[in-house]
């Protein structure tokens, strides 16, 4: 059994006066890919932000066995990387400079990037196939190209835990497949990936799945488990069906 990478006990969170999460208990194992799915407004993104320590919440959080609040911000930034959705646009920076921001936790204050930083950035940009436009500002890129640069920024951190909110936004099918390979390689190398996904079929390729509804976790289990498939069909009001095609589990519309 793998040790626990991210742990949450009795987590409740509100945005403004609006309660979003209600008493969530979650143990996400290390060196595995967990996908979080659920209908719109289920609280998936809020949960991910809380797990990353980016949103205040009641309850106990732990990262790699240590209480999250006890880890200094800089050290936490080295252990956990975050890729959000629709945050800043960084329009004015060149792709290379954007990816280099992922190396901030590694650099001493005011020190210029070291050779290791340049190497990590190049590797990350090549992984997401964004190396060719490294000198172009984000403002001149399409939505999918921009997303690949932002993904490279998160990869460049080289953290043990990577949390991603809607990482496939704007990616075309071939690059969704590339993303899948990237995540698989990270997990094979001992990394932990947690991703909120709307693309249920891609989410089913993960190791484990957390299914949320109305601010609660309704199911947490292996992706190839029958109980997970039943819970998935249930939470989407039986408007999707989970079927196996060529050995892969897929979510199809029920027509």
């Amino acid at each position: 059994m793998n040790s626990i990478a991210v742990s949450a006990r009795q987590i409740s969170a509100s945005i403004g006066k609006h309660p979003i999460l209600h008493g969530i208990d979650l143990q996400l194992p290390e060196a595995r890919w967990t996908s979080i799915v659920g209908p719109n407004g289920a609280g998936k993104s809020t949960l991910l932000k809380v797990l990353a320590g980016l949103l205040p919440a009641q309850g106990d959080l732990a990262l790699l066995g240590r209480p999250l609040h006890a880890i200094p911000a800089r050290e936490r930034a080295l252990l956990l990387a975050w890729l959000g959705q629709n945050e800043g646009s960084a329009d004015d920076l060149a792709s290379y400079d954007v990816a280099m921001l992922g190396r901030l936790p590694h650099q001493p204050w005011l020190a210029p990037p070291a050779a290791a930083d340049h190497a990590a950035v190049e590797q990350a940009l090549r992984t997401t196939q964004a190396w060719d436009w490294r000198d172009r500002p984000l403002a001149q890129l399409s939505g999918g190209e921009r997303q690949r640069v932002l993904l490279a920024r998160a990869l460049a951190v080289q953290a043990r835990v990577l949390l991603m909110d809607e990482p496939l936004a704007n990616l075309d099918p071939p690059h969704q497949t590339d993303w899948l390979h990237t995540v698989r390689a990270l997990v094979a190398g001992g990394g932990t990936v947690v991703s909120v996904l709307h693309e249920v079929s891609i989410a089913l390729q993960a190791d484990d799945m957390v299914i949320m509804d109305a601010g609660r976790v309704v199911h947490h289990g292996a992706c190839r488990d029958g109980a997970t498939h039943a819970a998935l069909e249930q939470v989407f009001g039986r408007r999707i069906q989970v079927r196996q095609i060529d050995g892969m589990w897929m979510a199809l519309p029920r027509v």
């Binding site: 980016l54 911000a73 800043g88 960084a90 400079d97 920024r153």
Partner: protein, 334 residues
């Protein structure tokens, strides 16, 4: 071309333009270029060049550098391309601070004592910082562009009205306040230059040290926090740099609009780099812009002269309109 090399070229060009304009500024004035030629033998000519034209020209460059820096910091800090010291109300706050200081100390902008200059500058700094704070409270943060700009305009109008009240209560400062509100470099002496140079040094170091926070913020609040950046203290430092730059510039030259807005935009249209370089380039660009405008203001109606604030307001207002038009047509095209 690699953006970093392009930025270096841009900096070299701006420095070259600065030197050319400084030479030009020393030559332009009611007594013409002859004063420069005769300054070695005639004490009056030497005084005109050395004690009037040179500090004034240098002062215009420094005030522009401060405003350009303030504009770049404001736009990065508030993640808002339309933020500038003027639109955020900080310039009005600085002017109010200056008016209160003049009313209290009974001084005019011509006053040459160190401590009164420092007093006016200090009050302008407090006014600028207070105004930014007020704008942020009214706008409930920086997220909403329109609310931020509206709050800035409201703060500017209210603080402007307060300044009028201060002027009415102490009519003896009316004369000096008028040139102050129009924005002019004609009262800038060596002392004002020294003050602005010192403030520019402090603000540049502060902004340079905190530039990484501005880079991180371009990715959004959550991502910047996830990178381990201590955002709260960095924000305080950046607002302090913004207020010090605006306050010092306004205390010496009065209200000069749009330099802080236009300089970072012009830089971005030439080269897009991280804030470490962007702030330096914007500062140089602001300096070149204001010095060029100042020379133009002295030359257009010579031997009369135009307050440079009037000129930058007219030119800068047009530029802002064009910028907004371009942004609207761009966003409707998407």
């Amino acid at each position: 071309m690699n953006p970093h090399r392009r930025a270096l070229w841009c900096a070299l060009w701006l420095l070259f333009a600065s030197v050319a304009l400084l030479l030009c500024g020393v030559g332009v004035g009611s007594t013409g270029f002859e004063s420069v030629l005769r300054m070695w033998d005639e004490p009056v000519a030497r005084q005109i060049v050395w004690d009037i034209r040179l500090p004034r020209t240098l002062g215009a460059w420094l005030a522009g550098a401060l405003l350009g820096l303030a504009g770049a910091v404001a736009q990065g800090l508030f993640r808002n391309p339309l933020a500038d010291p003027y639109l955020l109300g900080s310039a009005s706050g600085a002017a109010l601070g200056g008016a209160v200081a003049m009313a209290l100390f009974g001084t005019s902008p011509l006053a040459a004592q160190w401590f009164t200059r420092l007093g006016v500058t200090g009050m302008a700094f407090i006014g600028a910082a207070g105004a930014v704070g007020l704008t942020l409270v009214l706008a409930k943060g920086v997220q909403h562009t329109l609310r931020l700009l509206l709050a800035g305009v409201i703060v500017g109008v209210v603080l402007g009205a307060l300044r009028d009240l201060v002027e009415l209560a102490s009519p003896d400062i009316l004369q000096s306040m008028q040139s102050f509100t129009l924005g002019t470099t004609s009262f800038v002496g060596w002392m004002a230059c020294a003050l602005m140079a010192a403030a520019w040094g402090v603000c540049s170091v502060l902004a340079w040290v905190l530039a990484r926070a501005l880079d991180g913020l371009t990715l959004g609040e959550a991502t910047a926090a996830s990178l381990g950046l201590p955002l709260a203290p960095m924000r305080v430092g950046l607002v302090a740099a913004l207020a010090l730059a605006t306050g010092t510039a306004v205390a010496q030259t009065g209200l000069i609009a749009f330099v802080g807005l236009a300089a970072p935009h012009l830089v971005r249209s030439i080269v897009r780099v991280t804030h470490e370089r962007h702030i330096v380039l914007s500062s140089l660009m602001g300096a070149v812009l204001l010095l060029a405008a100042d020379i133009l203001a002295r030359w257009v109606l010579a031997p009369q002269e135009l307050p440079v604030g009037v000129l930058t307001a007219a030119l800068g207002g047009t530029y802002l309109l064009w910028l907004m038009h371009r942004r609207t047509s761009q966003s409707s095209a998407l």
